[in-house]
Amino acid sequence: LKMPEQMEHHLDERIGPLRAMIARRKLVDFLFAMLGMFLVAASLLVLVALFGQLVRDGSRRLGETHLVKTSGFAPGRFEVSGTLLREGAQWSLRPEMPMEDQPAILPLDMSGAQTDYSSLVGQSVAVDAGRSRALPLKVRSMEKLVSQSFFNSMPSREARRAGIKSPLVGSVLVVFVTMLLAVLLGVAAGVYLEEYAPKNRLTALIEVNIANLAGVPSIIWGLMALGLLVYTLGLQRSILTAGLTLGLLVLPIVIIATREAIRAIPVTIREASYACGASKWETTRFHVIPYSMSGILTGAIIGLSRAVGETAPLITIGALTYIPFLPDFSWKHPLGWLNSQFTVMPIQMFNWISRPEAAFAENAAAAGLVLLALTLSMNALAIILRYRLRKKIKW
């Protein structure tokens, strides 16, 4: 059976535009999907660019070591460090960090030196030249130097000597206090709201309140800490204040994580426990909390990673200071470090960013790299934990 030629042509005329329309619609659909893919790729590219910029600026600094003197003579008016050289009776020094107004090799006048320093030849030394700035340097005393890495040096006014020892220790201590407060208070509050709370106005108020606290800008937490903790409670600008501030800031995250984890446990588990004669707290303590532990842990890790990177509230309580020392610890006052002054990684990084010298920007990038590694690895841990949890537990 064959269609008359004319009719076929007529049909084509009708279907043609329809086909074209369908093709157009498919194309638009496809283009939109490409746009979506492009935007996802672009967002991830920003992450890559961020990482690349930090690596480019800061990676050199991370592996670098420099020379410091650990103890010894008090700093004089003029001191330089470098490698001690000797040629016959001529002493000289190759400076560690050549400055513009210094020659590559500084002649030394050892007549003022009181001891014999011949054993130090070829070693890294710091030279105390007293008041004399004239060349050759008239050496008063000399001391051997040890090399130190970025991680093992204190912040310093000299960019290439500066390191992140005290900020790193400060961050760890502050996050420790944060964790204690946020996890203890957060889990207790979450357990109360899920397991104990009666359905009344007060509970509703607490729930709305926690939800709203999660949306408070972080700098407002800093103002609260400044007004309440620093001045009203008189806690000063201490590790305790910082830990409490960040602990309260991440509290809503921990509470909400706890509630979600607890809500995933079926009622039958609780009923089985009650049927065995367990009291409410026994059920909570031996069943509900252990079973929701990994969910709680995931939330706590996410909260702590936020606390590690949080800068603004700590600046507000006045933590931006020069701290070239570690909080002292003694067995006599095991909690004495809580009252100590501190600095943390993001604040140290901000401090270095705001300095004009380029060498400090390098330090900032290196600190940023460490900070990024810390927070991203914590988040990765949380993602893995969540993923494994989802696979493992099927109620």
């Binding site: 961020l50 709370a197 949080e310």
Partner: protein, 320 residues
């Protein structure tokens, strides 16, 4: 559970597991004193959050009250100069509000279109596997410390923009806003995607059966049905952008500047608070009180957006 989920509930109260109601007279039967003490401790932990809120509001109001004793409210709201640390001090919040609004608008111009399109792509187009991988990886973008983003804005984005716009100053609101925008993309995309994912498949199938393409279905069926959740995502993005501190403090300059031109340097409310905190201001001085007044304004702005958002959500709430 992620950081984003935690913020997702800013506006919604989680539903608690329904439990049989126990008559009041029986509620304490059979409980040992130990049980009672534990319940009291747990209750106090939960109630502490209310005390924290009262603490925040109380401190802001108390210190601001001291500030408004020196500065009349109308002057605070209408003066166009903000120079509280100068000898000839002027206290007009407008320049700071302008800076905050401009950086927020720039950020939203990036985050809302990009976040929404990514959400539609992930929910309507991407295969399940891609979604499962892309979502957590995108969320890493919001896990980067803001001070690192600030460094990125200053050292990477600004020099790049200066190649296109040679007259761009080293500190400007544009690069700060762009970086904040990228930073809040995951907030917008993740929460919008959750909302779109919750739209029943039957609605989509109905649309496809009528001959609609995926794009038409996404924009005419899924997006309107998920509008309540998408609005929540936008509001969260706005609050984040308003309260963002370190990026603007590092990349936008610290000079209060009443302008709507994003290529200019300007200070924001948050950046001002940081700037004052860098110095050592005596307690109870007017400069010290001024940061609380600025904080109060920021808090009010965030609150207004959240209340408006809650209203919109209620209006668009779809019940399937």
């Amino acid at each position: 559970m992620t950081q984003l989920d935690a913020n997702a509930t800013v506006l919604s109260v989680p539903q608690s597991v329904s439990r049989p109601r126990i008559p009041r007279r029986l509620r304490w039967k059979g409980r040992t004193p130990g049980e009672w003490v534990i319940e009291a401790i747990l209750f106090l932990s939960a109630a502490s959050s209310v005390a924290i809120t009262l603490g925040i509001v109380g401190v802001l109001l108390y210190e601001s009250a001291g500030f408004f004793k020196h500065v009349p409210l109308w002057k605070f709201l209408t003066d166009t100069q903000w120079t509280p640390l100068f000898d000839n001090a002027r206290y007009g919040i407008l320049p700071l509000v302008a800076g905050t609004v401009v950086t927020t608008v720039v950020a939203l111009l990036v985050a809302i279109p990009a976040g929404t399109i990514i959400a539609i792509y992930l929910s309507e187009y991407a295969p399940h596997k891609v979604r499962e991988i892309v979502k957590p990886v995108l969320e890493l973008l919001s896990a980067v410390p803001t001070v690192v983003f600030g460094y990125f804005a200053l050292m990477f984005v600004t020099p790049m923009l200066q190649k296109i716009m040679p007259n761009l100053p080293g500190f400007n609101m544009l690069s700060a806003g762009l970086v904040i925008g990228v930073m809040i993309i995951p907030y917008v995309s993740s929460l919008s995607e959750d909302a779109m994912h919750a739209v029943p498949v039957a609605l989509r199938e109905g649309s496809y059966a009528m001959g609609a393409t995926r794009l038409q279905t996404a924009f005419k069926v899924v997006l309107p049905s998920a509008l309540s959740g998408v609005t929540a995502a936008y509001i969260l993005g706005i609050s984040r952008a308003l309260g963002e501190t370190m990026v603007v403090a590092i990349a936008a300059g610290l000079q209060p500047n009443l302008t709507v031109d994003p290529t200019q340097p300007a200070s924001t409310i948050t950046a001002f608070i940081v700037q004052v905190s860098l110095g050592d201001l005596p307690h109870a001085s007017i400069g010290y009180q001024s940061i609380f007044a600025a904080g109060l304004v920021l808090m009010t702005m965030t609150l207004v957006f959240n209340i408006a958002g809650a209203r919109l959500r209620r209006r668009y709430r779809a019940v399937y």
